[in-house]
Amino acid sequence: MENQIFELQYALDTFYFLVMGALVMWMAAGFSMLEAGLVRTKNTAEILTKNIGLFAIACTMYMIYGYDLMYGGGALLSGISGQGETYSNASDFYFQVVFVATSMSIVSGAVAERMKLFSFFAFAVIFTTIIYPLEGSWTWGGASVFGLYSLSDFGFYDFAGSGIVHMAGASAALAGVLLLGPRKGKYDEAGNSKPILGANLPLATLGTFILWMGWFGFNGGSVLAMASKESADAVAMVFVNTNAAAAGGVIAALLFAKIWFGKADLTMALNGALAGLVAITAGPDTPSALVATLIGAVGGILVVLSIVWFDRKLRIDDPVGAISVHGVVGLWGLLAVPLTNSDVTFSGQLIGAVTIFVWVFIASGLVWYALKSIMGIRVSAEEEDDGVDLTECGLEAYPEFVSK
């Protein structure tokens, strides 16, 4: 009978992992819709192709080698057909694999509308096989950083991956964007930023809601256990805080945009929701719901400032604001943890953040650079004018609609 109880606990934990993982998988649709809504019509089919392609690549490469590098267990999942200790190993892999896809998804938005599709896929192969898994091995995997130091010694804490997943994706994106340059027409000769409007805001909004929903799996699943009173309470609190932070992000971004721009800019409200979610991801377990709302709200304000700052001051062209949402706010998420978690220090968080950023940024930069030399990473100016849908995919996203 003891065994039956164990089996039930095992089954519940496994089931919990699978349901949470399915929600995270759903985030792939969220990123696709968000990005498809924020680019121009002529680049829509390509970004959809990019998103479904990168998800498939991430799932395959992480299965082949990435999971082994991050957590051990053998390439090709050789070690996970067997059973786990308190839940099925396969469910753990399933939950982890959708995380690497999330991190990769962040990149696709930032490099949108001008990157060669297959260069992007080549990058995705390396990012999901090595760059992310190695960084993941230092953090969640517990390995030491190139044998030099161990992040756990500094008490680095990143509950569900504000840094490990989101800032990592943003760091890779930043490296790519720097090498790629802004979209044609984004800055005039005087260096003034010229807005390029997203073509389909209902899609972008849908994407945001999908991400919001999926994030319950992202954070909720990161408790890694459900089948006890303690873990059940923890998961429930994580759900509440995740939701609260997203709500705080929306309200703050909306009000802030209204005050600053005089208009309730929908795209900023969407970025605010995502910023709230990214902000709470490093520590959704310790704050109260009110504090979670505030952490999200700070994220919501930060993201508006950061998007404008990247766009107008740094002249870094990030069509969907991915670097701000996942990078800048990801960092804020890491640094906010010590506010409510006394086991965590600012310095430890900073060391972790720097470690992740330096590794991912440099490694990604080198890979982008190599790809640039070998196959090129940017489409020609003429192809950019015509839209990458035609040149990369040979079709249009809305062939019947009259569009610019």
């Binding site: 807005p195 945009a257 800019d265 998007i307 404008v308």
Partner: protein, 114 residues
């Protein structure tokens, strides 16, 4: 025969259509266009960056008529579009000459085909 082309505010299309049918204009073709005249576009903010909306949405209507109808048609469009004593953006009317009109269905040509 004449071709009258008017560029009007989209929100006036309905009243123009009614005004025209009251004076027995039996055919109209409408196109969605973008334009600017004295009415320049306004400045908008998108994600914190300013931009000028150069072209504003307009509707172009084309009406083929006989010479005799010309004044009445211009009058009719003008009064349907001129609101509150005339505001910038109210629109513009262009008149050109038509050499021939053919009704495909019957093969009729000339004023009868209008």
């Amino acid at each position: 025969m004449k071709m009258v082309t008017a560029i009007i505010q989209p929100k006036r299309l309905d009243s123009v259509r009614q005004a025209l049918s009251e004076i027995n204009v039996t055919g109209v073709t409408a196109t969605e266009v973008k334009g600017f005249g004295r009415q320049k576009g306004h400045t908008e903010l998108y994600r914190g960056a300013e931009f000028v909306v150069e072209f504003l949405p307009k509707v172009k209507i084309e009406i083929a008529i006989t010479k005799e109808q010309l004044d009445e048609v211009i009058e009719s469009i003008t009064s349907a579009c001129k609101i509150n004593g005339g505001k910038i953006g109210d629109g513009k009317i262009f008149v050109s000459s038509l050499e021939q009109v053919v009704r495909i269905r019957t093969g009729e040509t000339g004023p009868d085909a209008v």
